[in-house]
Subunit: 338 residues, 2 copies
């Protein structure tokens, strides 16, 4: 089968590899319908996470079940399914509390930019659609597997809801979909930080009520102006750098909430600043599985259209160009079709 | 009047100072009935926070209203009142959300180890008892002004409640009273870290079900053993060092909660570790005012006895000995009577 490999900094290729096999009785083998390039893939691409040996890439996927391990229940060969980037049994105490990304049997996905992908913990991870979805819904369903689920988690943890002012730091796909999520959850005011005209249009389309172009402490000052000096009730941080996380923390009011959705290496949070801020902070990989049934339904009902973040849609063979476009920020998010 | 002064590292004296005056129409002047030495006072005493110029000390107090500013409503001269270490208007949006410690008009108290103390934001800060309380309740009411209120906040934010396992790092007064709070809030299991026999007794008396003597990663391993490898649902950290905060973070399960109640200078939290832990973290000075009415009632009804943390009860003149005893950990907490 054809699969995307990373070999070093800015060195992505598409190669012929053996098709994966069922290894454990709880595995599923999917024929990938669509995969995509994630902002977090760029940590590898840019060499921030060094690549020691060539390896496959990809953790976002929708596909058709090709084969099931002998112990997988609740799924059938031929179903269209959406999964997430961390597989989970969905039965342990941590999963039952809604934190499937910290499942006691959690397992990362890393080989989805390919024709076929093996998914562990299949029964707890994959959510089937009632029937094969319309073609035009594929991008939105794919978004659910990571960027929508992650943005949604960010907005939920930031306590987005009626009467609330939510700020979103970062205008990548996750930040943009956190805006969509905050809007769906009923937030009264959604303040987006963005300095790119095309992303501002999408931000407003998803529900942003205010746009701030300034960054860092200037951006914080602007946000304070818009919120009677108090700051936002909740902030979703979707960049992951020292600067953006500090900006996010400083945008939240005392007693408010900050969700950190991405963290680069080397970020350090000052204990004094966290203590002085008195903001509820949670960071981590989103438990997308918690939200998948609800998100899939919203998409099938055409109530949300998160697939708009895919501004590039190319065959898998063009993965190198897709990575380059993401890196250069000439596309928001690139969809790959095997 | 007589008042406690700090002049440098381990240099505390009691001096004659002018009696404070009402300065703003929202002030109250209290005749202090009891004050005490706080663990956080030791940051100054030990020189961790350097003393540039001699200054008064003390932020925990109960007293009798001696005089009121012209705009203070809801209080009367002669009433017995309990306040907290941060004064607040209790009317702004932040106060109304329950985070009075981040009130837009917040003001710190720092002169309470004295015969008289001026309290700003009096109407929003001071909570009167229906009548002058019995003498034996004074220590418990004094505890409410900081260590009980702080421990209570810690337990509330750690989501202490029925079915929950709560861990408490730190066996000072705040840690011990976080145990009492977790018990009152209905926690099923309360795991206390303590290696001092006398404090273990108090911890068990307040509701601890398990005691772990090990610290650091050995302590974490022990806690994991006691919790099926998962960690506690919620952790209250009541020390404030790099080591104790990391211990607290590692004791919480994925999706769990950590309240950090004290922070020393120089503490840095690793972004990678926070991201990997996926624990809800909040740090800050407790909004004691939120809990005061409820805590005062529990004390007057003799349902809780937080005053047991005062293992030293001396006249104000003995403040130097009280600081030394706290520093040497020969007493848990020292009460001062002006």
């Amino acid at each position: 089968m054809r699969a995307t490999m990373i070999n070093g900094t800015r060195d992505v290729t598409v190669e012929e590899l053996p098709r994966p096999q069922i290894e454990a009785p709880t595995d599923a083998l999917l024929k990938v319908v669509a995969a995509c390039v994630c902002g977090s893939d760029l940590w590898h691409y840019r060499g921030v996470i060094p690549t020691q040996h060539s390896h496959q890439m990809g953790h976002e996927y929708v596909g058709i079940i090709e084969e099931l391990g002998s112990e997988v229940t609740g799924l059938e060969v031929g179903q269209f399914v959406v999964g997430s980037f961390i597989t989970s049994d969905n039965t342990c105490e941590i999963c039952q509390a809604g934190y499937q990304s910290k499942c006691v049997n959690a397992h990362g996905v890393g080989t989805a930019q390919a024709e076929y992908v093996r998914i562990t913990n299949a029964a707890g991870t994959l959510v089937p659609t009632p029937e094969h979805p319309d073609e035009d819904l594929i991008p939105s369903l794919l978004a659910a597997s990571d960027v929508l689920g992650t943005g949604w988690f960010g907005a939920v943890e930031a306590q987005a809801g009626p009467g609330k002012t939510i700020a979103v730091v970062g205008d990548g796909a996750v930040g943009l979909l956190a805006i969509l999520a905050a809007k769906q959850l009923g937030a009264e005011r959604i303040i987006a930080f963005s300095r790119h005209a095309d992303r501002q249009v999408l931000a407003r389309g998803f529900g942003a009520t205010d746009i701030i172009e300034e960054r860092g402490d200037k951006g914080v000052a602007k946000l304070k102006e818009l919120t009677d000096g108090l700051g936002a009730h909740g902030v979703v941080e979707a960049v992951g750098t020292q600067e953006s996380i500090e900006q996010g923390l400083r945008c939240a009011r005392g007693g408010g909430y900050l969700t950190i959705l991405g963290v680069a290496h080397g970020v350090q949070l000052s204990g004094r600043e966290i203590f002085g801020a008195e903001v509820h902070i949670v960071a981590g990989g989103a438990p997308v599985r918690r939200f998948l049934p609800e998100l899939i339904q919203l998409i099938l009902d055409r109530k949300i259209n998160p697939g708009r973040v895919f501004t590039m849609d190319v065959p898998l063979e063009e993965a190198p160009a897709a990575y380059a476009a993401m890196d250069e920020r000439t596309t928001i998010k690139a969809l790959l079709r095997p």
